[in-house]
Amino acid sequence: MEYSNLRRQTIFMKKNLFDQGFLDEQFNQLEELQDESSPNFVEEVVDLFFKDSSRLLTNIEQAIDKYPQDFYRLDSLVHQFKGSGSSIGALRVKNECSVFKAHCNDRSLEGCRRSFQKIKREHATLKQKLESYFQLLRQVGPREHAVSSRK
């Protein structure tokens, strides 16, 4: 009983993540890649993403505070961030990155700062949400999760 409850909770949570636009189809595809040979593929990738992205965020922050601003470097850093974000299907992060890049193009430091704050917020939210999601998944167990990924 509790088991199926948990399962329902996982599905609901994922659906929420999708509905609120945190994730996109790419995340589903990632989950499809997960099979017996790599049971924790998604989590692994997501971990990788957060590790990588924290480093990138630090770099971006430094680049913003540096004077004079090197918008080109800023742009390429954000581009990287956006690339890895889109790989795991982090939709909101990705969108915000696009906004950031647009500000870079306009050379608007103020915009970049605002955008960066948003990115950080989105990033943190996503991290927290995904962590709880994976936690739930671990409780459900690998077997069930594979089923749940099939929409």
């Binding site: 659906k15 999708f18 509905d19 636009g21 189809e25 790419q26 595809q29 990632l30 499809e32 890649l33 099979d35 040979s37 790599s38 593929f41 692994e44 990738v45 990788l48 993403f49 990588d52 992205s53 390429s76 581009h79 990287q80 956006k82 690339g83 890895s84 889109s86 790989s87 795991i88 299907g89 929409k151």
Partner: protein, 994 residues
């Protein structure tokens, strides 16, 4: 922008400067031209004037000479006569004794001969009397010698009293001529020379200017060279006469032409410095004018005379001198003006042309900008719209309340409409920009039409419109062309037709152009060769059908009614001579509807984008009116034409032609993805009986049955059908031979209310009588939803209209209980649909060595995971440099996927170096294997690792850059299955040997 504007300003300044120079030049040219013309005028005028003057002078000389000669001649004649008179006197006065002359005789003689001396007013003879003889003389004569002043003459040496005189001057008789100074001198000179002498001109008693002529009379005949003394001694008297020069010249001149214009003066120029006027006014003329002087010889050696002629008036300038030169001047001015006008016009035109060019450039630029803007904006709108639609899709997948679902669905429908509109706008922009390229792939026209039909089937069913398709048999099964665009045109037209049709039908027909033309031509002739099989039924039903169209409603284009259609079919069944071999196939597609039609005033702009008949149209029916214009563009790109016939409130028929290429079925190469959905062939050899009272509709049904391989026969009513089934009719249906039809298809409108009962009864009866081996299944063809109808009518199955072969097949399978053969075309490896696609991707990538290079660990991991899932062996690297070392020439990789943006060495640079490396290796291999001949080429080709860029933004510029630096293509990131397959396919397919 700023630079451009600056350049423009500079150009403008230059233009202005050039303009100013031009103006200055033209002003100078005008001035020079006017001056030159004026000079020409002056020159010409002067010349003419000169010529005129010269002529006048010549005339003057001529006239003057003439006058002088005449005067001289007349004078000479007079003098001669005086001479003769002198001799007369000498002869008859002195030689005769007593003298034979007296005053009376002389006077009479002189008077009677005066015509000989027109110039002399009169002649008189004075006798020489010496003083010694005076008294004697006076006595003899009876009067004393008087002086000229009528006084008794004083004592003189000698006297010369006039003894004889002409009556005209009788008043001088008895006067001593020698008393006058002039006369005396004259007399002395005359007797000394023996010649006629003249006095200087003086006023005569008649108050005319004149001269007196004196001629000596000698007593003896003297020789020419006689001495003066002898002459004086021999002198007996003197003959004198007064020349009235004035009247003389006047008379003379009066006789001659040109008298009026000439002023003639005659002078005695003995004293050269002070010539005396003999004739003419002394007053000099006001202006010096050309004159001519002629010498006159009056026979007096001492006195010199001359004549001066001049024109009375200054010779006027001849008109021609003014008119001609003025004419030339005007012509010059005109020519100048013409040249100037032409020049300035040319200049203006050139300037205008330049401006035009500029405007054109700007307009073109604006057009390009517009197209680009359209493309960009549409693209930009499309992207988020796709997001919206996707989200709506997902939303619809969730559990929603009915109202929520309704809202979401509405939103989705609107979104889809918007997307399709944007796509259309984008299409148009693309067509306008000339960027639309047509594909050339084999496709099945009939399938496409079926698809279009099914697209609109629900709509047509809702509206109760009959929607049907007919494709002529002669249209090849597989055609080469652009199926997407073809479908787009037909979808547009059919969509329009359905939108504007409330009742009746929408009918799509496809024929070959040759047949269609033939039918139209033959239409004039009486239709004699109709299909024989239909004659009896046609006569039976024709009363009930007013219009022989698909639905019975009148259509705008009468060409599509039954008569014509029949004709068309007959041409197709009879082998018409037309080129089977020709590569091109021209199709005529017509879409006929019975809708509201297009108002006459709007017909001319039916193909103009965004033009609907009027604003009420869009209000009532919606739409933007871009569809037709796109269709027109597409048709024109396909080498066809589109036009329509429309009658308001009757309907419209759109007809377009398209040139496609014939394509033999077996000629289709395997690796080309062919959009074919072969129909099941399980029905081959089946036969059907169709009950339909409308011929056109029956033909359509027949066409679909035929596609399934079912032979069919048409009858008009159920009764006829039953009689055919039971064989009572006796009319064996030729096409079915002896075979009993295994299905009976009945149009719903042929179905009477009690029909099913009687039908079943008959069928039962037939079975009981064992006249048929198999009871035919009964199908009802109905436009309504199948479930409802099936319960109302007791039939085996209901086939829902609009008809299309695949749906028909499915329905027949179900009803006849035949199991549908599993997908017959399972071997199509090219198909990208469904799971087959990923399966083939799996097949492609299985066991392949793939190198993935990306500095982004997350991306790397995901890409690797995806590829591994398809069975590939993946190696990951994080920088371009590592890739270089790993890709030293003998390597095992089949494919390399590389990120473009990487630190240190980006994808482009890495690829460039890899290609360089390969090139070197190939060269070496080439050198090494030079001896081994043919094998070397194989090896040379070996080292070319397919490298695909991984990029997040798939735009044209990146693609071009990819190919420029030696990459073979690109894949989107994150991977899209279909795109990945397409990109990878061509590289891995070729190297399939493993």
């Amino acid at each position: 922008m700023g630079v451009g504007r600056g350049g423009g300003g500079g150009g403008e300044a230059a233009v202005r400067k050039r303009w100013r120079v031009k103006v200055r030049l033209s002003t100078a040219a005008v001035v020079v031209w006017v001056l030159a013309s004026a000079a020409l005028w002056a020159g010409l005028h002067w010349r003419f004037r000169r010529a005129a003057l010269h002529k006048a002078e010549e005339g003057l000389v001529c006239m003057c000479e003439e006058r002088a000669r005449m005067l001289q001649d007349q004078f000479a004649v007079s003098v001669n006569h005086v001479h003769a008179l002198a001799i007369l006197i000498a002869t008859f006065h002195y030689d005769k004794l007593p003298p034979a002359l007296d005053q009376d005789t002389f006077a009479a003689y002189a008077a009677r001969t005066s015509f000989e001396r027109p110039l002399l007013s009169g002649v008189a003879y004075a006798r020489r009397v010496v003083h010694a003889d005076r008294e004697n003389f006076e006595r003899q004569q009876g009067w004393i010698i008087k002086t000229m002043k009528h006084e008794p003459s004083p004592v003189q040496d000698e006297y010369a009293p006039v003894i004889y005189s002409q009556e005209t001057i009788s008043y001088i008789e008895g006067l001593d001529v020698m008393s006058g100074e002039e006369d005396r001198e004259n007399i002395l000179r005359a007797r000394a020379t023996g010649k006629a002498v003249l006095t200087r001109p003086f006023r005569l008693m008649s108050n005319h200017l004149g001269v007196v002529l004196t001629f000596p009379v000698y007593l003896v005949d003297l020789p020419e060279d006689a001495k003066v003394e002898d002459r004086v001694a021999a002198t007996a008297g003197y003959l004198g006469g007064a020349f009235d020069v004035e009247s003389l010249v006047e008379n003379l001149l009066r006789q001659l032409a040109g008298n009026q214009e000439l002023v003639v003066n005659v002078y005695d120029a003995t004293n050269h410095s002070n010539p005396l006027v003999m004739y003419g006014s002394e007053i000099p003329l006001g202006t010096p004018s050309p004159s001519h002087t002629c010498m006159l010889d009056f026979g007096d050696p001492i006195r010199k005379h001359h004549m001066i002629c001049r024109y009375r008036n200054r010779p006027h300038v001849p008109w021609s001198a003014i008119t001609t030169s003025s004419g030339v001047f005007i012509i010059c001015m005109l020519v100048g003006y013409i040249v100037y006008a032409a020049w300035s016009r040319y200049d203006n035109v050139k300037e205008d042309c330049r401006k035009m060019e500029e405007l054109k450039k700007r307009a073109e630029a604006a057009d390009i900008a517009k197209s680009q803007f359209l493309a960009t904006v549409s693209h930009e709108i499309r992207t988020p719209m796709n997001g919206v639609l996707g989200m709506l899709d997902m939303l619809l997948d969730t559990e929603l309340k009915a109202t929520q679902r309704d809202y979401a669905q509405t939103a989705q429908i609107c979104g889809k409409a918007l997307i399709s509109l944007i796509n259309e706008v984008l299409d148009r922009a693309k067509i306008e920009a000339g960027k639309l390229d047509l594909e050339s792939v084999p496709f099945d026209l009939r399938t496409i039409l079926d698809d279009v039909i099914s697209l609109f089937s629900s709509k047509s069913r809702e509206k109760g419109i009959e929607l049907a398709v007919y494709v002529s048999e002669k249209v090849p099964e597989i055609l080469l062309g652009d199926p997407g665009r073809f479908r787009q045109i037909i979808t547009n037209l059919v969509g329009n037709s359905i939108k504007f049709t409330e009742r009746g039908h929408v009918f799509v027909q496809v024929h070959l152009a040759d047949h269609s033309n033939l039918a139209t031509e033959a239409k004039i002739e009486p239709v004699a060769n109709g299909m024989n099989g239909h004659k009896d039924e046609a006569s039976a039903i024709s009363t009930s059908i007013s219009q022989n169209t698909l639905s019975g409603f009148e259509a705008a284009d009468s060409r599509n009614n039954w008569d014509n259609f029949k004709l068309l079919l007959s041409y197709e069944t009879n082998e018409m001579p037309y080129e089977i071999d020709s590569e091109k196939v021209t199709l005529v597609v017509s879409v006929e509807d019975t809708g509201i039609g297009i108002p006459l005033h709007a017909q001319c702009r039916a193909f103009t984008p965004f033009m609907q008949a009027d604003s009420s149209t869009s209000r009532n029916y919606g739409g933007t009116g871009i569809g037709l214009s796109i269709s027109k563009c597409l048709v024109e790109i396909m080498g066809g034409q589109i036009n329509f016939v429309s009658r308001p409130l009757v309907g419209s028929t759109f007809t377009f032609t398209a040139v496609l290429q014939r394509c033999e079925k077996n000629a289709i190469s395997d690796n080309k993805p062919v959009l074919l959905h072969p129909l099941p062939s399980s029905f081959k050899g089946f036969s059907a009986l169709l009950v339909d009272k409308r011929h056109v509709r029956a033909i359509v049904t027949k066409y679909h049955l035929q596609r399934l391989g079912i032979a069919s026969e048409v009858v008009g009513t159920i009764e006829l059908a039953l009689s055919v089934l039971s064989g009572r009719n006796g009319s064996s249906l030729t096409s079915m031979g002896n075979k009993q039809p295994c299905m009976l298809l009945i149009e719903s409108d042929s179905w009477g209310s009690q029909m099913d009962v009687s039908l079943h009864a008959t069928l039962q009866e037939m079975q009981q009588n064992d006249r048929t081996h198999l009871l035919p299944k009964v199908f009802l063809l109905s436009a309504a939803e199948s479930d409802k109808v099936k319960t109302i009518y007791s039939v085996d199955s209901v086939i829902t209209k609009p008809l299309k072969a695949s749906a028909l097949a499915a329905c027949l399978f179900q009803a006849l209980g035949i199991t549908q053969p599993s997908n017959e075309n399972h071997n199509d490896s090219g198909s990208l649909h469904g799971r087959g696609g990923s399966g083939s991707l799996h097949g492609l990538l299985l066991g392949k060595n793939i190198l993935v290079v990306d500095d982004n660990k997350v991306n790397l991991r995901v890409a690797a995971g995806t590829l591994k899932k398809y069975g590939a062996k993946v190696e990951c690297l994080e920088s371009g440099k590592d890739a270089l070392t790993l890709l030293q020439v003998p390597h095992k990789f089949d494919l390399c996927l590389m990120d473009i943006q990487m630190p240190e060495m980006d994808g482009f640079e890495a690829t460039r170096q890899i290609r360089a490396m390969e090139g070197k290796a190939n060269e070496q291999a080439d050198d090494g294997d030079d001896d081994s001949g043919s094998e070397s080429t194989v090896k040379t080709a070996k080292w070319h690792l397919p490298i695909l860029a991984m990029t997040a933004d798939v735009i044209q510029a990146t693609h071009e850059e990819c190919t420029k630096c030696g990459m073979d293509g690109y894949v989107s990131k994150p991977f899209e299955e279909k795109q990945l397959f397409q990109a990878v396919q061509k590289f891995l397919d070729a190297s399939m040997p493993s």
